[in-house]
């Protein structure tokens, strides 16, 4: 079983990348590949759904940050679906909760994660 699972789907103009499991130094390349792939499709906006993530460390943070900077360069929208407390804590600590666009998970969608 993989520690991190990533899936993508198109929802309107938004390309939703949903991650679940653990995002750390060992699994970051999986998400990185997917994000690279997604970026090639040049979607108008990307939503990174972290709500099903059990764990994220600073590697994940770095990934999100680089994704954010690329989105900014490409003029692409990026929004993050808020993760669990521990995940959000990482953003909080890094002072990024205000810097990045977070949205709440849609009703109950990620609650089962």
């Amino acid at each position: 079983m993989t520690l991190l699972e990533v899936s993508s789907s198109q929802q309107g103009p938004m390309l939703v990348v949903r991650v679940s499991g653990e995002l750390d130094v060992s699994t970051a390349p999986i998400l990185q590949r997917e994000l690279d792939r997604v970026a090639e499709q040049s979607p108008a906006a990307i939503r990174l759904d972290l709500s099903a993530l059990r764990f994220m460390d600073s590697t994940g943070l770095q990934l999100v940050l680089s994704m954010a900077s690329r989105a900014q360069q490409d003029g692409r929208g990026l929004e993050l679906v808020r993760g669990t407390h521990s995940v959000q804590r990482v953003f909080q600590v890094a002072g990024l909760e205000e810097r990045l666009t977070f949205v709440d998970p849609e009703g109950g969608d990620g609650s089962g994660a």
Partner: protein, 1224 residues
């Protein structure tokens, strides 16, 4: 068993000969339609049976089996043999057997090509009979000798068992047998005796009936023939059938030839005609021998008369009175001596009208002594006693005796002599005539004999006719014209020959200008229509006018002096094939019925000979065709075998082209194949063209007028036979073409034309049916073979593709496992990486790394051949890479982008080569295709991998680049790991020491403790760091930070952060300002996406209490541990540093009482995990609470121990903890 391919079978079926294929045991496996027609058995009946059972007459089986053995031993056999048709008829056939072999040369079958030569054999036998008979007649002196030989010849050759010659005795009006011949004397004796004994009158029995009717008679069953009289004898001898022929001369019958056989024989028309002709020849012979006998008889009679005469003697005196009268005189004149003596001679013996002349003569002698009679022998007329006058011969002499003058006359009665003389004169004339006839007959026989010999030996139609005509004008006629009906039914005057060379010009006119046309007035045209011989003993002026075409024609006929002619048809097998006209210009030589007979005979023989030559020629053609067919079949067979081994379309076209050029003797040849898309034909194979032509005609638009395009479009062959036709049919291309003739056939697969085969010839030529068939068969074979190779190539390509995909996966998985297994030795990783790609993915593979100083170092080079690898290394040593080079590895290292060069041109090599020697060596390597991929790990270009093909001639495609990049990523990761390991093991400690203060400075009244726990094996530089220093204004700066990432890169950022913070802290007091300045510095340094989190704490102390000002740039907030065990985080989260231009940073102050402590840490501590559970802030606070009362070191230890308890293994991430406590 399938011994032949479909193409071969269909080719065999198209041949114009019977084809029978058997396996090696003689069992028939193939039977074409011609075989069906020839042998009468259908393929269904024949296939499966042995050829010997089916076709070979009983008794000849051993011979047939010998032939099969010979074919197997010698590969082929040709010859004539007899076979039996289904209907029982015996056929003579000519057979070429050849051995069929499979592609390994093993015999598999025997193909026999047969055609019917029965007709030819029969004609040959007939000619042999004719020849034999003619020879016999020419060489025999007597009829007996001639007929004996003739009977023997005919019976032997025609297979009769009994033969007889009957001749007619006109005195007695009976026919008698003069000669017999028998095959078996014992069995035939009664028949011979009976025949010899018999004399028949005309009309009686078989010979009499034939003699009387002058017509031949066949009796298929003699016992049932009422005419036949010798039934008993014949029955005893076992004779069943008979045929008899009249011996005729002109219209007279001279005798009969009679033949008997022991079998039942249906009338044979041809044989009948032949024997009729022979009987006619015998008539000629009889005529000759009779004429000779006549000559001998006349001479004998004359001699008898002369010998029988006697003289009478009469004497007279001076007065004319008889004085003596001999006994012979008494007989001559009818007077007795007594009656005569004393009588005047004149009165008694001289007719009254002559007496006066006598008396006057006597008187003149008496007076003058002169006499016209005396001493001479004169013929006079005398008078007998009975008053009749008769001729006498008188010899008068004077008797010189004393006494009166006396004369004595010797008188001969020459009545008989006169009669005899008259008779003799008549007989002489008759003799002359007979002699002339004998000569004529002899000449005819000579002519027949010579013509027979000549015609029998003639092999060429035109020269045979010419020779025949020359013979005719030397023997029978002055002018000979031969006309033949050609295949179109038109009359062609083949020959016109005159005895006199001076008349040649006029004669030629008759051949060229006045050759008879159908319906023309000439006799020849008429005879061709009627088939009846014509002759004219005299060609009157009126006749000449009527039979000439115009005035000029008439003049020529007159000038030639035409007197008489014979014109007979040439009839072969009931068909009129032409005429022979003989013309005499000698008034003394006029043609009669006998000449017609002779000419007719000649006509029949000539026709037969012509027919024979025609058969021979067509047989030769058939034989050549059969042999060519066999050869062509062998060619197709060998081509099929060669093609079955051909694996590529190139090989297919080469084989087909070479075969076609060789078989047709072409000077040039080319094969074109329709390109995918179907718009153009690509010339893929050529023979004999210079390179400029090849360049010009490499691609031919399908819509063009070139022959190949024509052949492909029309799916049918194109032939041009001469230069003229070429220029007429083609424009600009034709003028440049060097060929005079060409053939171009489409290469087809199931009605599709996939290309064309072109053959050029330097000389004009025609293409036979066989040529065309061969070319078309080659075209079809090529099509099938091309289709097969195309499928084969596609399959092979698909297989190769699958194999490549499999090997790619294998290579990548091998790469991963190899690279993951031993990340120990950097150089070994690189050479393993290089080896991975060779030889499957590349002929050459090199790995270069980018040194920190910007230089490029080739770390590994791989080639499957060690010698070549050494060459590569040598080149590398002698020509180190130039990092500033505009292209190649240097550029890839600069840009970080992979490069693909599908085809390396020489120009590229020239541009890249530093000197000539390098260029020479690189050219020798023969580089073809190149991929250079950067080795990028964690965003850094570590080096580049170069993959190149040379001897494999492989050309890289974009998908190969993708694979190379995948491989490169794995290698780069492994490199990175190896490098990190390397760095860690050699420099981690040193670096760490520079990054972490060697020992913490002492702050009065404050305890300090710091712990750094690296992750894993502890030999990698972590991103965590801490620092503590005196800020200059009596305050202290405490720094805890975490640079994202690890290793040397991270370390450099760590170094930057430490130094910046220290420097800035010297002039700035507010921690948030210090961090903001640091943020600026980091952004300015453009460390990319590498950010860091830093917590800065300014510490001021009075020795008992401490005041702390805390600012966090994205770092976990420090925690205050009160002496009572309460814990709380200090400060507000701020933005991490190195990313945003304006981080949100705040300052928070907190005072520490004695015993209170502050703990700074990195996320490696809180994010440590055990399974899915994280150590977390909760556990941190709990652990800190439990540390209340402990000193700084104790607090730090408790935390680390707690983490260790939580996760006994080595930490996943490095972690740092710094604790300070106000001394209680």
């Amino acid at each position: 068993m399938q011994l032949l391919g479909r193409t071969e079978s269909s080719v065999l079926d198209q041949l114009h000969v019977a084809v029978v294929v058997t396996d090696l045991d003689g069992v028939i496996t193939h039977w074409n339609p011609h075989a069906e027609a020839l042998f009468g058995w259908t393929g269904r009946e024949a296939i499966g049976r042995t050829a010997v059972d089916l076709l070979i007459p009983a008794g000849a089986e051993t011979g047939a089996e010998t032939i099969i053995r010979e074919v197997i031993a010698d590969r082929s056999w040709s010859g004539e043999y007899q076979v039996v048709r289904k209907d029982g008829r015996t056929l003579d056939v000519y057979v070429t057997d050849s051995l069929v072999t499979d592609e390994h040369g093993e015999p598999t079958a025997i193909a026999g090509f047969s055609f019917d030569i029965t007709q030819r054999k029969r004609t040959e036998r007939r000619l042999a009979v004719q020849y034999g008979v003619t020879q016999a007649l020419a060489e025999s002196k007597t009829l007996a000798e001639a007929t004996r030989r003739i009977l023997q010849e005919i019976c032997t050759i025609a297979g009769w068992d009994f033969g007889a010659v009957w001749t007619y005795d006109d005195d007695r009006d009976v026919l008698a047998c003069v000669q017999t011949w028998v095959s078996d004397p014992a069995a035939m004796r009664p028949m011979v005796e009976e025949t010899r004994r018999l004399e028949v009158r005309p009309g009686e029995g078989l010979p009499g009936a034939v003699f009387a009717s002058r017509a031949p008679r066949w009796s298929a069953e003699i016992l049932a023939d009422p005419v036949f009289a010798r039934a008993d004898a014949a029955g005893t001898a076992g004779l069943r059938s008979a045929a008899a022929f009249p011996i005729v001369l002109g219209t007279d019958a001279l005798g009969v030839l009679e033949f008997f056989g022991t079998d039942l024989r249906e009338p044979d028309r041809d044989l009948s005609r032949l024997l009729e002709a022979i009987a006619g020849q015998v008539g000629q012979f009889v005529e000759r021998t009779e004429a000779e006998a006549d000559v001998r008889r006349t001479e004998a009679r004359r001699r008898a008369i002369l010998e029988a005469s006697l003289d009478a003697i009469v004497a007279m005196d001076e007065g004319g009175r008889i004085t003596e009268f001999s006994r012979a005189a008494e007989r001559t004149f009818g007077y007795s001596r007594d009656e005569a003596i004393g009588r005047e001679l004149a009165e008694l013996l001289i007719p009254p009208d002559l007496r006066d002349r006598h008396r006057a003569g006597l008187e003149r002698f008496r007076t003058t002594g002169e006499s016209t009679l005396l001493g001479r022998r004169v013929e006079l007329t005398a008078l007998r006693r009975d008053g009749t006058e008769f001729p006498i011969e008188l010899a008068l002499t004077r008797v010189d005796l004393p006494g009166p003058l006396l004369f004595k006359g010797a008188i001969r009665d020459i009545t008989d002599r006169k009669h005899a003389e008259a008779e003799l004169a008549q007989m002489f004339a008759e003799e002359q005539r007979a002699r002339a006839q004998a000569e004529q007959a002899g000449r005819r026989l000579t002519f027949l004999a010579e013509a027979g010999t000549m015609l029998a030996s003639a092999r060429d139609f035109a020269s045979a006719l010419e020779a025949l005509a020359r013979l005719a004008v030397s023997v029978l006629a002055d002018l000979c014209l031969i006309d033949v009906i050609d295949d179109d039914g038109e009359i062609r005057r083949m020959v016109a020959v005159h005895r006199d060379p001076a008349k040649e010009a006029l004669t030629l006119e008759l051949q060229t200008r006045y050759a008879p046309k159908r319906g023309a007035p000439q006799p020849a045209a008429r005879v061709i229509e009627t088939g009846k011989p014509e002759f004219a003993a005299e060609m009157t002026e009126e006749f000449l006018r009527a039979t000439t075409q115009d005035e000029e024609h008439f003049r020529i006929a007159r000038e030639l002096g035409m007197q008489s002619y014979v014109c007979v048809p040439l009839v072969a097998r009931d068909r009129i094939v032409g005429t022979i006209t003989l013309v005499s210009t000698d008034p003394a030589h006029r043609f009669g019925p006998t000449d017609v007979t002779v000419a007719d005979d000649i006509g029949r023989r000539t026709a037969l000979a012509l027919e024979n030559i025609r058969l021979l020629e067509s047989e030769q053609r058939a034989r050549r065709r059969a042999e060519r067919s066999a050869a062509r079949t062998a060619v197709l067979q060998s081509v099929t075998a060669a093609l079955s081994g051909a694996l590529s379309s190139r090989e297919v076209t080469r084989i087909v082209l070479e075969e076609a050029v060789g078989q047709l003797g072409a000077d040039t040849g080319a094969v074109g194949v329709v390109r995918p898309g179907g718009q153009e034909i690509e010339t893929t194979q050529t023979i004999g063209y210079p390179s400029d032509v090849l360049e010009r005609h490499h691609l031919t638009p399908l819509a063009s007028t070139y022959p190949m395009a024509q052949a492909v479009r029309s799916r049918s062959p194109v032939f041009v036979h001469s230069r003229g036709e070429l220029l007429e049919r083609y424009d600009e291309w034709a003028r440049r073409a060097r060929s005079q003739a060409f053939a171009c056939v489409p290469i087809t697969v199931e009605e599709r034309a996939v290309g064309a085969l072109f053959l050029g010839f330097a000389h004009p030529r025609t293409f036979s049916d066989e040529d065309i068939q061969l070319l078309e068969a080659l075209g079809r074979q090529a099509g099938h073979a091309l289709e097969r190779t195309r499928l084969y190539e596609a399959e092979r390509q698909a297989r190769a593709e699958a194999e490549r995909a499999r090997r790619q996966l294998a290579m990548l998985s091998e790469a991963s496992s190899v690279l993951a297994a031993g990340i120990v030795d950097f150089e070994r990783v690189l050479s393993m990486a290089a080896e991975l790609a060779v030889p499957f993915f590349a002929d050459w593979c090199a790995v270069d790394i980018l040194r920190d100083d910007g230089s490029i170092e080739r770390m590994a080079i791989a080639h499957s051949d060690p010698a070549k690898r050494e060459l590569g290394r040598e080149l590398q040593r002698r020509y180190p890479a130039d990092p500033d080079a505009p292209g190649g590895v240097a550029r890839v290292l600069r840009t970080g982008r992979a490069e693909l060069i599908p085809e390396i041109t020489d120009q590229m090599l020239v541009e890249a080569a530093p000197d000539d020697e390098f260029l020479r060596k690189v050219r020798a390597i023969g580089l073809r295709s190149l991929i250079i991929v950067p080795l990028v790990a964690r965003g850094r270009t570590l080096g580049a991998m170069s993959l190149a093909t040379a001897e494999s001639r492989r050309v890289y495609a974009p998908e190969d680049q993708a694979l190379a990049e995948d491989l490169a990523r794995r290698i780069a990761l492994a490199m990175d790991n190896a490098r990190l390991y390397h760095e860690r093991s050699s420099t981690a400690r040193t670096l760490q020491q520079t990054l972490l203060p060697p020992e913490l400075p002492a702050i009065p009244g404050i305890e300090l403790a710091a712990l750094y726990r690296p992750s894993g094996e502890g030999n990698e530089i972590g991103g965590d760091f801490y620092d503590l220093f005196e800020a200059g204004d009596g305050s202290w700066g405490v720094v805890m930070g975490d640079v994202c990432g690890k290793g040397v890169d991270a370390a450099s950022v760590t170094g930057l952060v430490r130094h910046t913070v220290r420097a800035v802290a010297m002039r700035e007091r507010r921690p948030s300002t210090i961090l903001a300045t640091l943020n600026e510095a980091l952004n300015r340094q453009s460390v990319g996406e590498r950010f860091c989190t830093v917590c800065y704490v300014r510490v001021t102390t009075n020795g008992r209490q401490a005041r702390l000002t805390v600012s966090s740039g994205g770092h976990p907030l420090p925690i205050v541990l009160r002496a009572g065990g309460e814990t709380e985080a200090v400060g507000r989260p701020g933005t991490l540093l190195g990313v945003f231009p304006e981080p949100a940073l705040t300052d928070s102050a907190v005072d520490l009482a004695p015993g209170d402590a502050l703990v700074l840490y990195t996320d490696g501590l809180t994010e440590e995990r055990n399974g899915h559970e994280m150590f977390g802030e909760g556990r941190l606070h709990e652990a800190l609470a439990s540390a209340a009362g402990l000193d700084a070191q104790g607090i730090a230890n408790i935390l680390v121990e707690a983490v260790h308890r939580f996760r006994p293994e080595a930490p996943r991430d490095d972690l740092a903890v710094l604790a300070l406590r106000v001394t209680p």
